[in-house]
């Protein structure tokens, strides 16, 4: 266990290093923030001055070395747009995004566990057909479209929830539904298949032949073991969540990291993009590590060493 953890943390260093390199190169070769920042009336002289002030006149490798040495001191550089250090701006947005991510996970879990179990125990029934069909639909619906539809139906027509922004818990409902639906679809299918696999196993037949009530068989024996892959999937959904927040936060003008990244890309705010990608990468890696650990804990048969 210890050895595994140490190994995982040691692997983290080259991975993060590679990520910073890739993002740095991508951000720097795809365009130049200077012309976006200058007014139309700016002269070539103004351009030169600004380029120099931002240190963008240096060769790329020089810029990268400077970026890395600052990064090692925890400095991700200045945001052009806000004229402030980038990292605090990114971290300031984490709570809003976490709130949305957790709410979406709750939505997904609440929807998928009962549906998944129902679908597996009533295999090939009309329920099953309906649920698996719904799951395909849920997976196929783009967040963008779903979000706008929810706004039109539940806010504009019914006035049940606020359209956008962050404030009360009611503000959280629509974005969480939007983001949670796709994940719920995936989890439902997973719970269904892992339940089916388990229901066909020896010990379930044994339990049934002992005359245990079906409810006990399902809840006590089958569901517990069916949860193992589900927990892993939940952790692995982090990246789906992050991708989803980009779109969902923009639609609902939810002031989280997703919106920040979109705005930063549009304004070529290099420091913010780099800091945000760094933080997101760390989160994804950490959640995958967590998934491994939980999996191991739930299923002692797995060995990492």
């Amino acid at each position: 266990m210890k050895r595994y953890l140490v190994k995982a943390l040691l692997q983290l260093v080259p991975v993060m290093f590679l990520i910073t390199l890739i993002v740095f190169v991508l951000v720097h070769v795809t365009g130049d923030p200077v012309d976006l920042m200058l007014a139309d009336t700016a002269t070539d002289e103004d351009r030169r001055i600004l380029t120099q002030a931002l240190g963008l006149d240096q060769p790329l490798h020089v810029q990268y070395v400077r970026f890395m040495s600052n990064l090692l001191q925890g400095d991700f550089g200045q945001s052009f747009r806000y004229d402030q250090p980038a990292l605090p701006i990114v971290l300031e947005r984490l709570p809003a995004s976490f709130e949305l991510a957790i709410a979406s996970m709750i939505v997904a879990t609440v929807i998928s566990i009962p549906l998944g179990i129902l679908s597996a125990t009533k295999r090939n029934s009309i329920f099953d057909l309906f649920i698996t069909g719904g799951a395909v639909l849920g997976k196929a619906m783009p967040n963008f479209w779903l979000g706008i539809m929810l706004i039109l139906m539940l806010s504009v027509e019914l006035g049940a929830f606020p359209v956008s922004g962050r404030g009360s818990l009611f503000h959280l409902v629509l974005p969480a539904l939007t983001l949670g639906t796709g994940i719920a679809a995936e989890m439902t299918r997973l719970i269904r298949s892992s339940m089916l696999e388990i229901l066909g196993q020896e010990y379930i037949r044994t339990a049934r032949s002992k005359g245990l009530r079906e409810a006990i068989v399902i809840n006590k024996h089958a569901f517990r073991n069916a949860l193992i892959p589900v927990v892993t999937i939940m952790a692995l959904q982090t990246s789906t969540l992050i991708g989803g927040t980009l779109i969902t936060e923009t639609i609902f003008s939810w002031p989280g990291m997703g919106q920040l990244v979109i705005q930063a890309v549009n304004t070529r705010d290099m420091a913010i993009v780099q800091a945000a990608v760094f933080v997101i990468a760390l989160l994804v890696i950490a959640s995958n590590l967590m998934a491994d650990l939980v999996y191991r804990y739930l299923d002692p048969r797995i060995k990492y060493d």
Binding site: T30, G31, D32, V34, D35, L36, L38, A39, D40, T41, A42, T43, D46, R47, I49, L50, R81, Y82, D83, Q84, E92, I102, A103, I106, V107, V110, I148, I151, L152, L154, S155, V156, L158, G159, A160, F161, P162, V163, S164, G165, R166, G167, S168, L169, F170, H171, L172, V173, A176, T250, I251, F252, S253, P255, Q259, L260, I262, Q263, N266, R268
Partner: protein, 518 residues
């Protein structure tokens, strides 16, 4: 963890309420934003497509940011709704000599933190932007050499050269007066997080990419502010911004797509308003030797092939005015004959092309940004089709804004590129900025000695009548030679709640005190 379980619990409740088909208007507090009455408070909520850039008034060039700032800061002189210069923090002014302007400052004005407004603040503010070439607004203020404090309430602004448009310069973005003592004592960063001005509304709270809240300044030197609280919300997604207006979540929404105008009109309790802006959409034409567009007949044919009226009608829902000049009404030096007119004549365009030796057609490239201006992509596509009608095969190159601006900067577009320019100076000088032969090099390669001479003279001409003539003459030449083919002046589309009265301004500023309850 407690919070998480709380959230999940309430969330489950909310979900079950939803499942039970219970559509009670949830969160009355949140909906009250737009009701304008929070505990009897008069609240005005305005939604725009982007957040303000920040509070460094000298380091942005963003109209929508300035539209918010005008409620917090005052200029020395301001433009009224008819673009006439009026006293603001300066009560009177005179020119001492060609390069010196003397301003008498208003007495008894206080900043939001209580500091008195004096000549020292004027010196601090203007010298900061005129002296730091890293600031984005530096180019519009570097003409100021120094600000001399004559006494507590008198300043002399001294320019490097005669500066006929100084008042225009001082009534726009970057001219808001800053509190020098407050900034010197607490540092610039503190000012950025706790900005202080002299305006009718003072800073309360800013949650980035969500909302900025301003509250009434009871000590304001002018008329009592009309609202208790202003909420500026940032809602980037068009459909969401429209939905907020329809549900009464906001009182005013800017940048409404033309396709949604009808829906807002038909909805009970909302209407739309269209207002002219300073932005003019145009095609910049490469006149470099060897380009097909170097031939003036080809340029004229392009102009005659485009039906501006049809573009405005079909794509912009009527929100625009065809023009043959960039100096539209409300700007100094405009040419009325060249405004609200178009030369659409496809038959003559074909003749011109035949004369130029392109009877069997010609091919060129039109580059345009996509997603930058209202319906830019659709406009470019329609222009491409119109050019095709007369036998010009235009290869359309659509670029997202940051690639477009890289190409723009490196001047590597081919025959035509489409762009919209604003004019924050409200003066003809800015409209010719890129047509000086020096500045046009590599872009349009326009080179006309007469135009150069006219512009150079007008730039420092302190006689307004003469100056106006010079600019009008220059516009005639440019309209004829077509280094830039002007298409139309763009309107701004607003969605407005019936509970407020709102008249759009040409400069697109959102002055809360010009907006009132019905």
């Amino acid at each position: 963890m407690k919070r998480v379980s709380m959230i999940s619990l309430v969330f489950l409740l909310a979900l079950s309420a939803l499942a039970a088909g219970c559509s009670q208007p949830a969160g009355n507090s949140s909906q009250a934003d737009g009701q304008g009455m929070d505990d009897g408070e008069k609240v005005l909520t305005i939604a725009s497509g982007n957040d303000i850039v920040g509070f460094d008034i000298h380091d942005h060039n963003n109209t929508s940011t300035e539209a918010v700032h005008v409620n917090m800061f005052n200029y020395l002189v301001r433009k009224d709704a008819n673009q006439q210069i009026q006293p603001d923090l300066a009560v009177s002014w005179e020119t001492v000599n060609e390069t010196t302007w003397r301003f008498q400052l208003r007495e008894g004005v206080a900043f939001h933190n209580g500091d008195p407004f004096t000549a020292a603040d004027v010196k601090f503010t203007l010298e900061r932007v005129a002296g730091d070439n890293k600031l984005l607004e530096y180019g519009n203020y570097k003409q100021i050499k120094e600000v001399k404090v004559v006494d507590e309430h008198t300043v002399d602004i001294i320019t490097h050269a005669p500066e006929p448009v100084l008042l225009n310069r001082l009534s726009r973005l970057g001219s808001g007066m800053l509190p020098s003592t407050y900034i010197e004592e607490n540092g610039w960063d503190h000012f950025l997080s706790q900005p202080v001005g002299t305006g009718p509304y003072k800073f309360s709270e800013w949650i980035r990419d969500d909302r900025l809240i301003l509250v009434k300044n009871d000590q304001y030197f002018g008329d009592q502010p009309k609202w208790d609280k202003l909420i500026f919300r940032s809602i980037p997604e068009d459909a969401t911004r429209v939905a907020e207006l329809l549900t009464g979540g906001v009182d005013l929404a800017v940048n409404i797509p033309p396709s949604d105008l009808q829906r807002i009109e038909e909805n009970q309790g909302t209407h739309t308003v269209q207002g002219s802006t300073q932005r003019v959409m145009l095609l910049a034409v490469r006149m470099t030797d060897g380009a097909v567009t170097a031939d003036h007949r080809v340029r004229e044919a392009i102009d005659l092939a485009i039906d501006e009226q049809a573009i405005v009608r079909n794509i912009l829902a009527g929100g625009g005015t065809p023009t043959r000049t960039r100096v539209t009404p409300g700007n100094f030096g405009g040419h009325p004959d060249l405004y609200d007119t178009s030369l659409y004549d496809p038959e003559r365009a074909k003749k011109l092309l035949a004369e130029a030796g392109y009877a069997s057609g010609l091919e060129l490239t039109l580059s345009a940004p996509s997603g930058r201006y209202l319906k830019d992509k659709e406009t470019a596509e329609l222009i491409m089709a119109m050019l095709g009608e007369v036998g010009i095969k235009a290869n359309l190159e659509l670029l997202e804004w940051s690639s477009f601006s890289s190409r723009y900067k490196s001047k590597t577009f081919h025959e035509l590129f489409m762009i919209a320019y604003g004019n924050s100076m409200f003066d003809a000088s800015l409209a010719f900025d890129r047509l000086f032969s020096e500045r046009a090099k590599g872009e349009t390669d326009y080179n006309n000695e007469e135009v150069d001479a006219l512009l150079t003279e007008a730039e420092q001409n302190m006689n307004p009548a003469e100056r106006e003539k010079q600019y009008q003459r220059a516009q005639e030449i440019v309209a004829d030679e077509r280094p830039q083919i002007y298409l139309f002046q763009m309107d701004a589309n607003y969605g407005v709640s019936d509970r407020i009265r709102f008249q759009p301004r040409l400069d697109e500023m959102l002055l809360a005190d010009e907006i009132s309850l019905q």
